[in-house]
């Protein structure tokens, strides 16, 4: 099942022109980068939610846990806690991580679990045929809101900054090399890494033109400056038509969640002895 080019034989069923293809190859290439630095391929685990994005589990020939809608992050946290040697990556959708399972995203950042979360933020529910999500613009006419979405979007970057994320970046499926680079950095960052990928949904929300027109790559920005990161993140509110920065907004080294659990040396003591000792005290 582990394929040399990391792509399985599963038939790919994304729509033509879908931004997921770019993310797939960027992620694949970033993983190859890790492997070339000596990370054993079998130490890499992918966790996906449910949605178009999640098909990544079928397409990449690596360990994967194809989870349920909205629940990538707790699964990834469990895997990392079980074995901190593993490199754990979440591919989550915006419906997935920003609606159904938003709480887990915030707790992932708060705990600083050393996992990388890639959000395929196409700003729409793709697989359920086009409803508004928490990052769809106000008034979005999706199938559940034919008269226009009644809510403004939130800004996932500012939310992540407020939640304590130590690596906050944004890229887009319109810029494969940039995306590959950012995912590579995210994978190497020790701690919770968050990458919001503005992904094109060819079928339900194709705003390529917007991202091409307004997008620009961050430069001269100091990712260690929290306040600057907040101001930069606020530049575009996922709603109106302002410049959209791509790059690393914020990075900070902090202790990771899994390091805070004491690792017991593998013991040869059969639990029965310890149980007996416990019972002795209860007598």
């Amino acid at each position: 099942m582990q394929e040399k080019n990391l792509i399985t034989g599963a038939q790919n069923t994304w729509c033509p022109g879908c931004g997921n293809f770019t993310i797939q190859f960027a992620l694949r290439n970033a993983i190859r980068g890790l492997v070339s630095e000596g990370v054993p391929l079998e130490n890499i685990v992918l966790v996906t939610g449910i949605g178009c994005h999640a098909k990544m589990s079928d397409y990449l020939g690596i360990n994967s846990f194809y989870s349920i809608h909205g629940r990538t992050i707790p699964v990834a946290t469990g895997i990392k806690l079980a074995n901190p040697e593993l490199t754990v990556i979440c591919c989550a959708g915006d419906g997935d991580a920003y609606a159904e399972g938003l709480d887990h995203l915030i707790f992932g950042a708060k705990r600083n679990t050393d996992i990388t979360v890639v959000i395929h933020n196409n700003r729409v529910y793709g697989l359920t045929t086009g409803q508004y999500t928490p990052t769809s613009p106000f008034g979005f006419r999706g199938k559940s809101t034919p008269q226009g979405a009644p809510e403004e979007p939130f800004n996932p970057l500012t939310l992540m900054l407020a939640s304590g994320a130590g690596f906050v970046a944004r890229s887009t499926s319109r810029k494969m090399p940039h995306l590959t680079g950012i995912i590579g950095q995210a994978l190497r960052h020790k701690g919770f890494s968050f990458v919001d990928v503005l992904q094109i949904c060819a079928s339900y929300f194709n705003v390529s033109e917007l991202y091409d027109r307004q997008g620009y790559e961050l430069s001269g920005h100091d990712p260690s400056d929290f306040t600057a990161a907040c101001r930069k993140a606020e530049e575009w509110d996922y709603n109106t038509d302002s410049p959209i920065a791509f790059g690393l907004f914020y990075q900070e080294a902090k202790p990771c969640f899994e390091e805070r659990f004491s690792r017991h040396p593998v013991s040869n003591v059969h639990p029965e002895e310890q149980i007996r000792a416990f019972l002795e005290k209860k007598r």
Partner: protein, 549 residues
């Protein structure tokens, strides 16, 4: 035959549960079997709490309504429980707080004299109780040294003053020399899981299993165990499945409301064949209900929770020994068969304290899991004769281990093909068969006192011990299925063969086991229900049985 009940009452925050437990330890040292029932409302301080510590020469696991001793740390304790006192009841009370008949103990004055904090009041109380009941002070000393090892001298001094403050009233004799460990159901479940090889425990606090979380969080100091308390029960379940996928034997714990939130992950565990154990402590429902009271109303919920069909283990232990043994078995079998398992307990079992019979703690072996194949060709859902695929964990060289919530092929890749879906459904059915085979090797249905009994009580879970006790008096037999899924139909049919009148005793209104039995062709003649969240007392069950039989 001695059979003594001590009611200790006070306000929440007075340490009533500890007081009751210390008294149980006194009895334990005197060679008695003990049982401790703790009755408390859902609040932190004030209100009214009480424990009933019972001691007898035979194994017990239920409280009696008639109390022989009353230790009152609050006026309510005297006022509310008058009707429970036996005619010659010995009454001791904290004279600073309570007015009434009996002997007063100036607890506050004693603590003050010793410059001791309020929490040490319990030592004073048990000192007084020992004296009043003729228990030698060295027994008090043993108990305090063992159970309050932090500042034994001061506690002893206080106990001595309590001892001296009252007069002997009625002597409780020593009846034996063995003394058992006293553990509550949560501890027994936790130890059983540890026996089964538990690597990780994940839970969000919820009565009545919060104390299992607390217990295991403490045990993580001594055992190679990871304990996590995440943001909510959804995270609990999914984090646990992540741990399981990566090779850790993992359990979670909750009660009904939290279990609701776990059901989606439970179905994932079933469909993706990721093993997991859920400790599910029932309390009075529906909804928030009575958080600190009991019930047996969630059997059918756990039997059918989660969308789709998949095999699952449900065991309902009825005593601390069974809790230990079957928690270990549930964990082992869940991993062997790669299915979710539920340990179905309730508030009575979880928070009751029992004398543990160590001889009954023998866990039958469940054999080794399926052999892993070679890693190059590893397929997570390999088709096998018994439906169980070899279980491996990442990292596995040259392999990609893919688990999947979608319908999938042997490699774990999503499929929508009708024929593969059918094969995988059949694989799960074969696995259900294999699991049933495992269960059939075990003694899933226990019977008690069935020699020639024409009437038998049918019970499950924590009502076991009240049933056996009452049944003994009536000459009834008792039949207890411990495993409820896969349903041990043959063993249960064998057990009921020859019974003329089968009376189900369940702490619910619907008669959940009764209906389940009917579904398996086993007729229950009478259903004794319980509608108020309280566990049956010996007297109450006796009276109810008299009514119906």
């Amino acid at each position: 035959m001695y059979d003594i009940s001590v009611l200790t009452g006070g306000r929440a925050g007075d340490g009533i549960n500890s007081a009751g437990l210390l008294i149980a330890h006194l009895f334990n040292q005197m060679g008695y079997q003990t049982y401790l029932y703790f009755d408390y409302p859902s609040l932190i301080k004030g209100g009214h709490n009480f424990t009933i510590t019972r001691a007898a020469e035979q194994k017990i696991g239920a409280h009696r309504d008639q109390c022989d001793y009353l230790l009152a740390l609050s006026q309510d304790s005297v006022d509310l429980h008058r009707h429970l006192l036996s005619d010659n009841a010995v009454i001791l009370f904290d004279s600073g707080r309570v007015h009434g008949q009996g002997q007063g103990i100036p607890v506050e004055a004693i603590l003050k004299a010793e410059q001791a904090p309020t929490v040490m009041g319990n030592s004073c109380i048990i000192g007084a109780f020992a004296k009043a009941s003729g228990i030698p002070f060295d027994v008090v000393e043993t108990v305090i040294r063992r159970q309050i090892p932090k500042v034994p001298e001061k506690n002893l001094a206080i106990a001595r003053k309590g001892y001296e403050a009252v007069l002997e009233e009625r002597v409780i004799p020593r009846v034996g020399t063995t003394c058992c460990p006293l553990v509550n159901g949560n501890e027994a479940i936790g130890l059983g899981l540890l026996h089964g090889g538990l690597d990780a425990y994940v839970a969000y606090p919820m009565t009545p299993t919060s104390n299992l979380l607390h217990f295991l969080a403490g045990a993580a100091r001594d055992f190679p165990l990871t304990v996590v308390h995440p943001e909510n029960e959804i995270a609990v379940m999914l984090m646990a499945l992540g741990l399981s996928y990566a090779g850790k034997k993992t359990a979670v714990g909750t009660s009904g409301g939290g279990f609701c939130l776990m059901t989606e992950g439970f179905s994932l565990a079933g469909g993706a064949e990721v093993p997991i154990v859920v400790v599910m402590g029932q309390r009075t429902g529906p909804s928030t209900g009575l958080p600190t009271y009991t019930g047996q109303t969630d059997l059918r919920f756990v039997l059918h929770a989660g969308q789709g069909e998949f095999p699952r283990i449900v065991v309902a232990p009825g005593s601390s020994e069974q809790a230990y043994v079957w928690s270990s078995i549930a964990l082992s079998l869940a991993w062997k068969c790669q299915v979710p398992a539920v340990i179905l307990a309730d508030k009575t079992l979880c928070e009751g304290t029992y004398s543990l019979d160590e001889k009954a703690m023998i866990v039958p072996g469940t054999g080794d899991p399926a052999k892993p194949g070679s890693s190059r060709s590893y397929r997570r859902y390999e088709m096998t004769e018994n439906g169980i695929s070899p279980l491996q964990f990442p990292p596995l060289r040259d392999a990609a281990i893919k688990v999947n919530s979608y319908a999938h092929d042997e490699d774990g890749i999503t499929t929508e093909k009708a024929d593969i879906v059918r094969l995988m459904t059949e694989k799960r059915k074969r696995k259900a068969q294999a699991l049933k085979g495992e269960i059939d090797l075990l003694e899933c249905v226990k019977t008690y006192g069935m020699g020639g009994a024409r009437t038998a009580l049918l019970c499950w879970g924590s009502t076991l011990l009240v049933c056996t006790e009452v049944a003994r008096r009536y000459g009834f037999g008792v039949i207890q299925p411990i495993v409820l899924s896969p349903f041990p139909e043959e063993q249960l049919k064998a057990a009921v063969a020859g019974v003329r009148i089968l009376i189900a005793v369940e702490e619910n209104a619907d008669g959940q086991l009764t209906l389940l039995c009917r579904q398996h062709g086993i007729a229950v003649d009478i259903h004794v229900d319980k509608l108020d969240g309280r566990p049956f007392s010996v007297e109450e069950l006796g009276a109810r049985l008299k009514e119906v039989s």
